[in-house]
Symmetry: C2
Subunit: 254 residues, 2 copies
C-alpha cells in the first residue's frame, strides 16, 4: 500500500481555528509527528501512534515521518498555524529533495491553517488590509544583514510588516534592533500590534506605537505587526481600539 | 440589546476550509451581508435574512451592515478567504472611522479565514516557506507607480511575492507588466505558481517559470506566487512537482 504524508496546519491556539480538512487528515492518520506542544493540542485516539520531538530537530522529524510513509503508513505531521509559513512544509520538501528517490513517489499533502498574522490581525481590526509582508526575525537560518535589508526594503516601500519568531532566549536583541531600524523609515507614531497565543487562555493583544514598542514584552509565541504610514487607529470608549490599513493608498511621493 | 457585527472569513472554495469559529458566527447571525458569490457558499437557514451585493459596493455594504448592527441585530458580513487580506475588514473599519459615533460602540469581531495564498501555496508545496509579501495588483485604489515600486522592492530584497487581484476585464495588462518588471530582478527560470479556485470543482494549479508566466491564463479568481532566487522545484514522476522556498537563506551579496 502506498504511504502518505499530510502536513497539517492546526492554526493558532485552540480548536476554533481547526478546519474540517485538517480535522479529517488528523482522523485518517495512523501516526502523528510534531513538536510536542503542537501534538498536545490534538486529541488522542486509540490505535494512533504519536511521536513528539523538540523544536530544533525539524530535519530529523521530517526524515522519520517520510520513512514511515515510505513504509506504507498514513502519516500526519502537525504544525502550529500554517505549515507553509516558517514551519514544517518547507522542511519536509527540503528532505525530499535531498533524500532517497522513494520519497518523491509519496503522496505529499499540505493542509493550510490560519497563520498567526491572520489571527492577530483579526483580533486587532484589519492592519493587513493593504500590501504587507511576513519576515522571520530568526537569524538562526539566515544572516542578520539580510533581515535588515528586508526590513529597510519593506518599510521604505510602504508594506505593513508582520514579524514571526521575534525573540527568544538565544536571540534577545534582534526585536529591539528591528524597531530601531524601522524607525529610520517610519514615524514614531506608527501603530504596532503585539499578539500572543491567540485563542488560548493566556491570549494577549497590545496596541502601541513604534517609539514605545521596545517597552512591550514579547516571546516566541508573539507575533508583531508594524503598520505602514497609512495604518490608522480608531479609539473606542470602553473597547479595544481598531487598527486598520485602508485599501486606498496615495501616490508615490519619494 | 447591543448589536454585533462579525466579519467572517469563509476561506477559499468549499466548506473544507471553514473554521469552527466561522461556522459558529454564521449560525449565530440574524442577518448576513456579502458579495453574492460568497453568500451563495453559506447554507440557508430559516429566519436568517440575507443581503447580497455586487463586488464594487464595499462601502455601501459596510454601512448597511453597521446600521443593522446599531439597531440591535446580530450581523455577519461574509468574505472569501480572510476578511483582513484585501477584503471587507478594512472597508468596515474605514466606515466606522468616518461614520456616526454609535458605530464605535458596536461589538466588532473579525474572524480569520484561510487566505488564497495559503491555500495555493499548500497545493504547490511550500513556496511561502521563507520571507514573503502579498501585493494587490489592482490599481483601482492605488496608483500603478506604487505597485511597481513595491514589486521592485520585494524582488530586489528576496521576498517571495503573492499577487492578489492579478487581472480583470477592466485591468487586462497589469499582470504582464508585473512579470516584465520582476524579470529585471529575477532569473527567467524563477518558479511561478498560478492557483485558481482552490477547493472548488474548477480548481487549477499551474507551475511555470517567470519567462513563460505571461502565457498562462489568469482571472480574478487566480492567485499568483512568484518565487525568490532561493525557490526550488522538485520534479516527481507521475506527480505534480513540489515548489518550495528553503528556510535557510544565504548572506547578502549585492
Amino acid at each position: 500500500m502506498s504511504g502518505r504524508l499530510a502536513i497539517v496546519g492546526l492554526g493558532p491556539g485552540d480548536h476554533r481555528y481547526l478546519t474540517p480538512e485538517a480535522r479529517a487528515a488528523l482522523d485518517a492518520a495512523d501516526v502523528l509527528y510534531g513538536y510536542g506542544p503542537y501534538l498536545d493540542r490534538v486529541s488522542e485516539r486509540a490505535g494512533q501512534a504519536r511521536h513528539a520531538s523538540g523544536n530544533r530537530v525539524e530535519g530529523a522529524r521530517a526524515q522519520d515521518a517520510l520513512n514511515e510513509a515510505a513504509a506504507g503508513a498514513q502519516v500526519a505531521m502537525v504544525s502550529g498555524g500554517d505549515p507553509g509559513v516558517f514551519a514544517m512544509a518547507a522542511a519536509v520538501c527540503g528532505e525530499i529533495e535531498t533524500g532517497p528517490q522513494a520519497w518523491r513517489a509519496l503522496d505529499i499533502v499540505v493542509i493550510p491553517g490560519i497563520t498567526a498574522m491572520l489571527a492577530v490581525a483579526a483580533r486587532a481590526g484589519a492592519p493587513l488590509g493593504h500590501d504587507f509582508c511576513a519576515i522571520s526575525l530568526s537569524d538562526n537560518l539566515k544572516p542578520w544583514d539580510l533581515i535588515e535589508k528586508r526590513l529597510d526594503a519593506a518599510a521604505a516601500a510602504g508594506f505593513v510588516i508582520a514579524l514571526y519568531n521575534p525573540i527568544s532566549k538565544a536571540r534577545p536583541w534582534q526585536l529591539g534592533h528591528a524597531f530601531t531600524r524601522l524607525a529610520q523609515h517610519l514615524a514614531p507614531s506608527t501603530p504596532v500590534v503585539f499578539g500572543r497565543a491567540m485563542g488560548r487562555a493566556d491570549e494577549a493583544l497590545t496596541v502601541t506605537t513604534l517609539d514605545q514598542a521596545g517597552e512591550v514584552k514579547a516571546d516566541m509565541a508573539t507575533l508583531v505587526i508594524i503598520g505602514s504610514a497609512e495604518t490608522r487607529v480608531i479609539a473606542r470608549d470602553g473597547k479595544a481600539p481598531l487598527v486598520y490599513t485602508p485599501r486606498v493608498a496615495a501616490a508615490v511621493t519619494a
